[in-house]
Symmetry: C2
């Protein structure tokens, strides 16, 4: 999940580049431009935008069309000269996104245009890892069967825990799993393509950063909070999800809100998760766990004192915890996901203004806060995007 090179100083090249890298790079540039365009660009548009010649753009596009990475469409919208053939991300390339959650398993097949081609949601419980993953693999194969000749290019898996580079899930408290070789167990689903495993918060953040594959969302730098039973998070910088040394960046759930607060399962005290996790909010608000998401804001607006207390708790804890995060990573926009998506406008503005008071640079650049756009299955869709990201980064491997 480590995507190289956020804002950086002196990068160093580990190996020399050859002429073929040049072509690889320009193929990627074309694909990226096609994905981020608002209207299907022509070969000539691409040549202008990327400052290459029409000759080069034409040749590269032809290769990508042959590989079905981009599709040609009619773009007859009048105008002077020869009508252009529009280019769109190919529908023949799909990525598979899987998600293991505490109570369900999700599968999404998404094409390069971001359209969901196939999906599957099944309930699950906190059982043995092998059993759960085998069930997930079964569902994934079912979805894969319905792809009808499209090319599967990779599999992404979102899991609620810390993942290491080799695709092992080190620890997932809410599943009770330790050291599970997720990538290995699910390898058969991907066939000869790699299975990319990452934290569900990172996958959801990827979807938030690019609502369509390769297409940047409104913000390119933000802190993403994924709140459910556990509270996770991710940092998006320059449109890329940044992972730490061991893929464990963005563990917002264990930022300290108050050192004298309640003990947390992680061994620390007063962690954010103890204030805004579903369990904590259910207890304070008196709502059943599954109704916290929708019920909280409504209850508070209706004046229910327990819901008001819960909302105040969320506001306080988030503003304290996120202020530290914003100061440390220097990113002043925050996206609230999971059950926090449903917070009402007034609460969000209240979090924002309290953050402003605590953030050093806010006088210069005010903090921004917004709810996430993704739905409650963002992690699975994001995982599919993660699978497709390999094609976007190195399309040469698929032509």
């Amino acid at each position: 999940m480590v995507e190289p090179g956020s804002t950086s100083w002196g990068e160093s090249a580990p190996v020399a580049v050859r002429q073929s890298s040049l072509r690889e790079r320009n193929l990627a540039a074309i694909v990226a431009a096609v994905c981020r365009a608002d209207v299907p660009p022509s070969r000539a548009d691409l040549a202008t935008e990327l400052s290459m010649t029409r000759a080069t753009a034409g040749r590269l596009v032809d290769e990508l069309v042959a590989a079905r990475v981009v599709d040609e469409v009619d773009r007859s919208q009048g105008g002077r000269g020869r009508p252009a053939k529009g280019l769109l991300p190919g529908t023949g390339i799909v990525g598979l996104g899987l998600a293991v959650e505490t109570d369900r398993l999700l599968v999404r097949a998404v094409d390069l245009r971001g359209r969901v081609i196939g999906q599957r949601d099944v309930p699950s419980g906190p059982r043995d890892a092998e059993l759960v993953l085998d069930a997930l693999a079964h569902e994934a194969r079912e979805v894969r069967r319905g792809l009808q000749g499209r090319r599967l290019v990779g599999v992404g898996v979102a899991v609620p825990g810390i993942v290491t580079d080799d695709g092992r899930l080190r620890r997932a408290p809410n599943l009770g799993w330790n050291d599970v070789d997720v990538a290995g167990i699910l390898a058969s689903v991907g066939g000869r393509y790699p299975v990319q495993v990452a934290n569900e918060a990172d996958m959801a953040a990827l979807l938030e950063a690019q609502p369509r594959p390769g297409r940047p969302g409104p913000w390119s730098d933000f802190v993403h909070v994924s709140a459910a039973v556990g509270v996770g998070g991710a940092i998006v910088s320059g449109g890329r999800v940044v992972a730490g040394e061991h893929g464990a960046a963005g563990e917002l759930g264990h930022v300290c809100v108050d050192p004298s607060g309640p003990a947390c399962g992680c061994g620390s005290t007063g962690c954010l998760e103890q204030y805004v996790g579903i369990r904590a909010l259910a207890e304070v608000s008196g709502l059943p766990r599954e109704r916290v998401a929708e019920g909280l804001a409504a209850g508070a607006v209706a004046g229910d004192p327990r819901c008001l207390a819960a909302v105040e708790q969320v506001t306080h804890a988030l503003s304290v915890a996120l202020a530290s995060v914003v100061n440390v990573v220097g990113i002043s926009s925050v996206v609230l996901g999971g059950h926090l998506t449903a917070l009402d406008v007034a609460t969000i503005e209240s979090i924002r203004s309290r953050l402003d008071a605590r953030v050093l640079g806010s006088r210069w650049k005010p903090v921004q806060v917004r709810p996430a756009r993704g739905d409650q299955t963002a992690a699975a869709t994001g995982a599919a995007h993660r699978a497709l990201a390999d094609v976007l980064a190195r399309p040469a491997a698929w032509v």
Copy 2:
């Protein structure tokens, strides 16, 4: 602080690359390899390491030698065939590092081998920005005069405050400066080369990340704490200092240790700076400010109750604040700089173990803590490295 035009190859390309970019890139690869090598490599060594042909390596090296970016040295150490000419970073290329601190101005001229060619330290006070910067420019010109035919390739300036991309210092509380165009005022020092302005903590962290220009230090991922009157910090990831959206990453001084703690000048409460800044420690320990650095550890070891209290305060505050940072950015190594460099081994181990208890991934990968290697002028030397970083990143511009 975000380096212009240095997008790396993995990520989506904004523009196409041409054949000349290929050469630029490989020149940079050669320079990087020469800088990070333990013994001066030959052209053949470089060809092997970078997997290019001897022909290519030879041609590119010749260009770099002509431009004095690398020097040829005799490496006659016996052996069979034709003796190799060793290659070292050029001594003819120097970067100028300036630092504005609360009580002094520093100038360092450093060559590509990391040797200090010229330096100047003068006392200063918190006066008008124009006056102080003019004095600094004067000192810098004096140092520049002593360069004797070497090529000055850039100027870096370390300042104690938040800096925006355009080289303006937005706010420097301990200098009482607001919105000062540092790059503009010092432009004359750099001649036709840009003046790179950044936070002193970032500059010091750069020196910690690369003790010699282009040569990585022992750790490539760490959180760097720069403690003085103010407490700053920086995040180093993959050997690079990461800047936030607005160059304001790593503001560790304003991570919240205790929301019910003392009010901080930043508008928040219980910030780290209120516990480990020089003023706070001087007050608790009873030591005069200028003696806090050396006196604190000694006093604590000697059993002085006030020093013991101060050390306990440092230990507690750092372990709480850094735990959040480590969890959020997923980097589990910490370097303590500024007056914290002088903490005794036992205190550092105590911070480390308390961090371990609060960090989610510590069971998998224990937290590491060490004092910084740089001296109290790290920011100025780091600023010189910053100036040289442009040559390392794009040597083609200098050949």
